[in-house]
Structure formats: C-alpha cells, structure tokens
Subunit: 329 residues, 2 copies
C-alpha cells in the first residue's frame, strides 16, 4: 500500500492539522477533533454534523457561513464519540437550539443520541434529523434501515441557509427533514478504496465487475453487476432512484465522485445523468459535479437527486462560504 | 481497465457535454471544443488558455469572471489544434487584445504560436506568455526547457483579475510573466494514471517506489525514489523548489492532487508543507488544497509555491467565479 500519509495512526490528526493551516475561517481542535467556525455565529440555530472520516470534504469541509457551525470526524469509517459531539454542540450553541444532522448508521445514531441527551442535560435544546436517502438496500451491514449518503450535503446546505436567516429550531429541522424526504441516492463502485490501517482494498472486484449500490464505507450494495459504459451505469443508478421517488419537475442533481475517479470522467457521467433526467421530463435546475462525499480512494460515483420546492431552491442558492462549497459571498 | 466512460473515443466530447449541462455560465462548443463565457466580456483584455485534456479542472474549469475568457482542450495529453485556439481567441477578443497563457510543451507552444500569427492576420493583437515553473527537469520528453504546470492556475487567476480591472494587454502579460518568474512546482507520483485509449497505466512503479518530479502527462521526472512518509515526500518537493527559488516572505501554496489521491491525504500533506514553510521563515498567506491540475487517475501530488507581491496578493484575492475557483462574488 502506497498512500500519501505519515502513518495509518496519524492520518486524521495530520489531516486536521492541514485543515487548520489551510482555512483561517475554521477553528480546528486537533486533539479533540472538532472543526468549528472561527467566528462563532450569534443568535441563530446551530448546526452540527459528523461521522466517520474518509468521506472528505464531508463534513468538515462544509463548516462555515451558510452551512454547519461545527463538525466532528471519527476514526476512518467509524462514528465520532459522544464527547466530540457534545463539544461541537457547545461550540455551535448560540441559545437558539442546535440541530444534529446524522447519517443513518448504527454507531452514528447511537452516539449522536447519547450526546444529544447529555447536551439537553446541560440546557441545550437539540433536535436530530436522521438522513436515510440511499435506496440501494433496505438494511445493511452498518444500518437498520436505509443508509444516509449524499442528501446530507443538501440538508446541511439548505438547513444551514435557513438557520442563517434566523429560522427557529423547529423550522430548520423541518427543512432538513424535507430534504431527506425529497432526496434519493445510489452509488456504484469500480474499484474499492483502501483503509490505511487495513492496507489493502476493502473488497475485490473482477475486471468486468462493479458493485451496484455500494455504501460509502465500501459495504455491499444490491449485487455485483457487469461493468459497462458510463451511460448504462448512470441509467442503472437513476432507474433505482426513480423506482423509489418519482422524478419530475425541478431537481437538484449531484454527480459525486467517490475519491479516485477523475473529473473528466465525472463530467462525462454528468452528461448522461442530465440526458436521463431530460428524457424523464425533469428539469435539472441546480447541480454539483465533483468529489463531495467520498470513500477514500475508491473509484466510482454516486448520484443524489433532490426534488426541489421553491423554498429549497431559494435556500440552496443562498450565500455559502465553506472550504468545499462557496458562492454568493 | 474499468473507467467511468462510454468509450475511449468519446471521453472528451462526453465531458464537454457534461460541462455544458453543469455550467450555465459557460458556452461549450462541443463539436469545435471551445469553452467560453456565456456572457462575453466587453472592453477588457481577453485571456485564452488550453492544452491536452486529462488535467481537469484545468483549463475549462477556470473560464469565467475574473479568470479566462475561453479555453481549448486537446485530445488526452495532446495539444489543441490551431483552429480551436483561433476560435477561442476570437471568442475572447473584445478589441483590447488577447493574452495566450501557454504551458511549455513543444506541441502547445507550436500550435498557440501558429494560432497567434493567424489571429494577428485577422487584426487581433495577441501576446503569449509561456509558463515553465516545473523545476523537476531542465528538458523533458515533451519539452525544450522546463515544463509548465501548477503556476498556470496562478497566472490565469491574477492576470484574469488584472484584465477584469481594465489593465491593458502589456500589463496583463507582464503580470502573468511575473507569476511565472516567482513560481516553482514539483510533483511526485505514487501510482501512474491510465490514458483511456492506452488502457493500462502509463508507467509501472514498484510497491516501494515513487516517481520524483513526475510530469503532468506521467512523463519521467528526475529519478525513481523510495516511497516514504508524506513528510519526506513533501520535504523532497519543497527542497527541490527551494533550491531553485529561495522561499521566504509571503507565499501562496498550492497542494495539488493528481486525480486519485483522496482529500484526507492531501490535507495531511498540506500540514507538512505548511510546517516546512514555517521552518524556512516563509509566511503562507494564501493557499489551495485539492485537485486543481490533475493527470487523469494518477495518485500523487504536486506543490506550487508563488512568492507573492502586494499586487499579486491583491489580484489573487479579487472576485472570481468559475466552476473550479469561486470567491468574492
């Protein structure tokens, strides 16, 4: 295994040192693993998210004006611990309550719940929204129920915008919930990523195989499929999404890279996704293409579709200034 | 070879269709392979760049307010042809002259020169600036003299800002030249990328080997080195840069991924680069970390250091709105 790291033991600490050096707008507590805004927001609902590391820029890259107030990275593909989440909740708290945006994985749900209870004991109002947008499998190795994936970015963005505008905790939570209900995702892997401490790819795919519905930790999807043209893989993903959420009207499309797929390929896949949407009567009015929720150096892509409302569209367009998403400021 | 493509023959066309669908702010002429601003600028110096494909987001991702007016992608790792460059030059022309920013590779230099002469015949003033910031080798398989790499992004950004402010052609060219003179780059590969039509990695590295000074087309660097911790690889790159350009005072640091290296690793390498700079008395006052000039799905990184002046720093900070760089608007 050749990785651009000092040691498997220091990957997360080193990355946090890097984030601290790169982004003066963030305060990075390297020891306690909490990333928060350097300029603490006042008089707004706080937003906290987090989860296992290895999905960068999720979640630390989405801390900043218009999105999260704080994020907590766990070990690679492992939930953050309650102490981290409590510290982040305190950092995000400006006496209007704090929203936890939690991807639906057993460890994350448990630890965020424990932290929420402890924060409540200290007088902080906490509401949690669980994201479960991945239509690939109903239950999984890491989940009771569906997994949470790319829609998390949308929830962080639009709920973050609502909080920035002064919406109350109930409203901010309602908006994040609405994003979850109106979004679906599906991922396909071409080559597995390698967890540094494991030193070899998380699973093996033959030269003519892909993993259909792969999870963001390399966990199995629906089935092994046959490798084919981007057009077919993209259609498979969108068909799976469409089977669960009728796609029409105005949508936001995220064509996401899993970490090792180059941008030229992602743009090609985006073209196919855009054509698929057009063929199904949907208007792709907003989009992202690039690496937004990754699985280390896994090759492949995922697609997230959000059926927009006027409100969601307006909040998506609101100014945002984070390391990974920035516009309007 | 498993790649997220329809066919090796359609990779560039498909990616351009994707760019067109993703970025309403761009006009993408898929057939003639010219990417330009949808809203043509008036009364300013035009900026055009281009080169082989496979380095995305370079150059098409840097078209927009505050950077390029038009970009031309060639075949993978192959210069664009003069017809493309002439079309882009015309698209960028607003009667204040056009600057060509050209990376120093034999094919690029030749084709841009031919296009510049033909554009001059049609009454368009063209000045070319050749970028040659890569200190790895003096001549190379594709070059007489040094290769042009990451400093191209800096030149496009700051010369683009100067043009947006209304600077004349001579001034805009002077600023791009100054960036080239004040910038140096060095890249190290861990695994070779795969050109789709070739179907296998461009070169082979043993499990304990890296390519020190690798070019952006996978061409050889100085030597094969021994794989080691990120700290050592980053120091090697910065030592090579420092040997050629004394690094002190205020610098811009770009810690760039070659395409398949995940962000968590790039941040770790960034931490080492930042520490190296601190140890050498330099103040890293601006930075980028991520995939900005790639080599398809190659694993590895490159470092670009620009020694800033007050003017360059001001122009770097000026508003920019492109697919790959966006701030201040």
């Amino acid at each position: 295994m050749k990785k651009l790291i000092n040691s498997p033991d220091t990957v997360i600490t080193d990355a946090l040192r890097g984030m601290s050096a790169a982004h003066p707008g963030l305060t990075v507590d390297v020891e306690n693993r909490v990333i928060s805004r350097a300029q603490r927001a006042s008089d707004k609902v706080g937003l906290v998210s987090g989860g296992g590391s290895g999905h960068e820029p999720l979640h630390g890259g989405y801390v900043g004006h218009g999105m999260l107030d704080a994020a907590v990275p766990g070990e690679i593909y492992t939930s953050p611990v309650p102490d981290q989440i409590i510290a982040a909740t305190k950092a995000a708290n400006a006496d209007r309550g704090v929203l936890h945006i939690v991807k639906n994985y057993t460890g994350d749900v448990l630890n965020f719940q424990m932290a929420a209870e402890l924060a409540e004991d200290e007088g902080i109002d906490v509401v949690s929204v669980i994201m479960n947008d991945d239509v690939a499998v109903e239950d999984s190795t890491h989940t009771a129920g569906r997994r949470g994936t790319g829609a998390t970015i949308v929830a962080e963005k639009v709920a973050g915008a609502a909080a920035e505008e002064g919406a109350d905790l109930e409203t901010v939570a309602r908006i994040a919930t609405e994003v979850n209900e109106r979004s679906r995702s599906f991922g396909i892997a071409l080559h597995a990523g390698t967890v540094p401490s494991a030193g070899r790819p998380g699973f093996e795919l033959a030269d003519d195989e892909v993993e259909l519905g792969v999870g963001i930790h390399g966990e199995p999807g629906r089935e092994r499929g046959t490798f084919g043209p981007a057009r077919d893989l993209v259609s498979y993903a969108l068909d799976a999404i469409h089977a669960d959420l009728s796609i029409s009207d105005e949508v936001l499309l995220i064509l996401n890279g899993q970490g090792a797929t180059p941008l030229i390929e992602l743009y090609g896949a985006f073209a196919e996704a855009s054509a698929w949407l057009g063929g199904h009567g949907a208007a792709m009015v907003r989009s992202l293409v690039g690496n937004y929720i990754t699985s280390l150096d896994q090759a492949g892509f995922s697609i997230t579709v959000t059926s927009l409302t006027d409100e969601l569209r307006r909040l998506w367009d609101a100014p945002v200034s984070t390391p990974a998403l920035r516009w309007g400021v």
